[in-house]
Amino acid sequence: MEIYINAVLLTLLAVTSCAIIRQRSLFGVVMLAGTYSFLMASVFVVLDAVDVAMTEAAVGAGVSTVIFLIALHLTKSREYPKPRSAVVPLFITLITGFALIWGTSTLPPFGVADAPIHEHTTPHYLDAAREKQIAANVVTAVLADYRSFDTLGETLVVFTAGIGIMMLLRVRRRRGPAGGNEGEPS
């Protein structure tokens, strides 16, 4: 059953990607990208990664769609009609795609329980979480207990990214010719 759901979802993902490539109106591209994110979130749900699925649905399909729409509103909503030459990009894409497929050829088969990733640290996490009863959701246990330093770093990264974007977006406003409507400095 699961393999059929996966097949349907992955086919729809491929169709959406092709539609994004064919689409010239950037508004349509943004909408299709939102669709892509929702499909990807569904794939994550099938893979039992519900935490990732929630993030993908909220950030990928929600917030970034809005941000892309604002960006379109600020710029132009049509793509340049023709790329100069498709040969070099096609070549690079083919090489990268081939390298990726070649790289996955040595990976353990999809969904196998005795893959190395499930035998190394995962049993330890699961056993410890059950023994100490720290968190029923082991993802939270890993994020907040075993790797709390990582999570602190991630929070810092989110904050730093925010600062960077705000600095980038504010620079031009200060230099801009229209000095009329900037009342509050922060």
Binding site: A71, A135, A136, S148, F149, G162, M166, R173, S186
Partner: protein, 139 residues
């Protein structure tokens, strides 16, 4: 940006449920899927949805720019400060066992504080980015 009645009423109806869902995702992260990151995005989504329908100016009145920009670093500080009490107790940084008498309680408090820091930073940063973008629209 003021849209029709249906959208405005619909958004007003949906916002409280979004808030409750964000609180559920935040506080229930120990037991179900979710946690600070996901709840933070939902909270930011609330403000963004409100701004889309009622305009950025109205959104700035419920979540003022100055407040949002102070909350983003405050979240990182909450997270970082959570680790400090254990240092004074002679334990390792971010060791939650100082927050209560038994391990389970202490752990719950520790995770609660850490997640509070995460939701604050994530929500405030996303809202601040949104504000910074809509700010350019006006100028």
């Amino acid at each position: 940006m003021k849209s029709d009645v249906l959208l405005r009423i619909g958004v007003k109806l949906i916002l409280p449920y979004m808030l409750v869902f964000a609180a559920y995702v935040q506080l229930h992260g120990d037991y179900g899927p979710g946690g600070g990151f996901q709840a933070g995005v939902i909270v930011a989504g609330m403000v963004i949805v409100y701004a889309l329908v009622f305009g950025a100016k109205a959104a700035r009145q419920i979540a003022p720019v100055a407040l949002v920009e102070r909350l983003a670093p405050a979240g990182v500080l909450i997270f970082a400060a959570t680790g400090v009490p254990s240092l004074f107790a002679g334990k390792r940084y971010l060791d939650y066992s100082v927050f209560g008498h038994d391990a389970l309680h202490a752990h719950e408090w520790g995770v609660f504080l850490v997640e509070a820091g995460v939701i604050t930073t994530v929500a405030a940063t996303l809202i601040a980015i949104f504000y910074a973008l809509t700010d350019r629209e006006h100028s």
